[in-house]
Amino acid sequence: MSVEPAIAMDQVDVVLSGHTILRALDFSIARGAFVGVIGPNGAGKTTLIRLILGLIHPSSGTIRVLGMPVGKGRRRIGYVPQSFAADPDLPLRAKDLVGLGLDGERWGFALPSRSRQQRIQEMLDRVGASAYANEPVGTLSGGERQRLLIAQALLTNPDILLLDEPLSNLDIRSGREIIELVDEIARERQVTVLFVAHDMNPLLAVMNEVLYLAQGRAVVGSVDDVVQPEVLSRLYGQPVDVLRVHGRILVIASDSVVPFTHFEGVAHGQPSSPSPHL
């Protein structure tokens, strides 16, 4: 086995239409890590994912993914988009959608075969989606769709799994189920996970590193090292407080007049989890 890190960034800047979106990214992510990618809206989380996928290119610096330049070995990176649009009449069953993850980018069409079907079925079982394998995707709920997208991304046995805000359309319970599912699968298959979320609290139990993005800059490390007032104040470029209450972490701007403006998850009697609202 190679000891190359899963992702290695060396002084990477990203400039899109004249604006510097990400600057001086310089970190590496070890194989098998579960990394929460956290940051406010517009911090550049999606841009970072697109960068790792090779869909945009750095204006300076170098990136290596699994020891290769980006854009190579795309099938070794599983990508889970936020969700997908599908009307209820769309003639595409859950298993058709997942099957596209096996070879959807290849020419021609897939000849039905037993081994193909079996691989798809096993993956549907693994993500707990076999009950609706034959249902049209447009009739499924947000959580069910998310499981399918995860199955689709995993069919090539990738070494890295990138999830861009998979929790954004889910309620707290489905969100927790998705996190547990990704964590279990990541452990059993030794997959490196980058899990994008705007709130780190649901991920605290599973992530062993946080990649905190703000103002186009990033810090990477353990939650205890990174989520500190000094570190985040430097990152945001303004004073930031970090409160730890009931095992949850709140990041707030010190000079904000109304500090807690963005509460989520007060339903179901859950402790609330404000997101950074800087």
Binding site: R74, P81, P91, E105, F109, Y132, Q152
Partner: protein
């Protein structure tokens, strides 16, 4: 019994050369229209499928003007429109760019017809098609081109399906979305240019949308949806030829009518099925 049979299938229906040309070319365009229509539906691009045959009509007018084959004029014009739409839509709102290109093409068609002094019957044939007037050369061209288009659809089937359903995932796997966009529009353009001489610029749209939408409602998977669409399209054109020959009702009218009936029927079956289907919570474990 034999008498009714004889009334419906009148002498010459399967033997006159012009009817053989009609059978062959109508079948070819029915198949390709239905298959490409599936992707039109999938991508929600019926406006493009509506605009391309109408705009392509200007190409046929231009062909009259310079004395070239109308099939060539149609294809060149439709592909030019498709490329315009495929590139313009990246910047602007796609409905607007499609509409602008359509208006431009129709204006040019007006110009070409006026300058070329086209006679009414020629214009009429372009607008409403001339299934029973397809020459043997046209039949051969239509058949070969349909087969080529079918092969191309087969080749790009998976990436086109993937990029039409989960575009971000497709891009992540290296499927170039802009190339897929342009490929799709050019496929619609070429299918439209084959359909216009037969069904006419105004009604070509019905053959591309009707059967595909019927298949959409009847099937649960892409393969089935296409198979149903092809079956609906073939039966529509076949029945239209028989009735058109018996009654001399215009074939374009018949094709459009049967496509609409099939679509309505499929919708009805779909909705009565889904009323009977169990609620999602009672879904059986499979």
């Amino acid at each position: 019994m034999m008498q009714i049979w004889g009334q419906v299938f009148q002498p010459g229906l399967f033997t006159y050369p012009f009817l053989i040309h009609a059978w062959v070319s109508a079948s070819a365009i029915a198949i390709i229209s239905a298959v490409i229509g599936f992707f039109v539906n999938l991508r929600g691009e019926s406006f493009v499928a509506h605009a391309l045959p109408r705009g392509a009509f200007a190409g046929a007018a231009a062909a009259f003007l310079v004395g070239a084959s109308s099939l060539l004029g149609l294809s060149v014009f439709a592909v030019a429109m498709a490329l315009g739409m495929g590139t313009m839509r990246r910047q602007g709102e796609k409905g607007v760019s499609t509409a602008l290109i359509l208006v431009m093409a129709l204006a040019l068609g007006d110009l070409f017809l006026t300058v070329g002094n086209a006679y009414a019957p020629e214009v009429f044939a372009l607008l409403f098609g001339q299934l029973l007037g397809v020459s043997s050369a046209e039949m051969i061209a239509i058949t070969i081109l349909s087969a080529v288009l079918l092969l191309v659809v087969g080749a790009v089937f998976r990436p086109l399906l993937l990029s039409s359903t989960v575009p971000e995932f497709a891009a992540a796997r290296g499927v170039p979305l802009t190339v897929m966009n342009i490929t799709f529009t050019v496929l619609v353009a070429l299918a439209a240019s084959l359909t216009v001489p037969v069904v006419g610029a105004l009604l070509a749209f019905s053959l591309m949308i009707g059967p595909a939408a019927a298949g959409w409602y009847l099937a649960k998977s892409p393969g089935r949806a296409m198979a149903y669409a092809v079956a609906v399209a073939l039966s529509s054109v076949w029945i239209s030829i028989v009735i058109g020959y018996d009654t001399s009702l215009p074939v374009g009218f018949l094709v459009a009518t049967f496509c609409l009936i099939a679509y309505g029927g499929a919708r009805w079956i779909h909705f009565s099925r889904s009323r009977r289907a169990p609620a999602p919570s009672q879904r059986p474990q499979s």
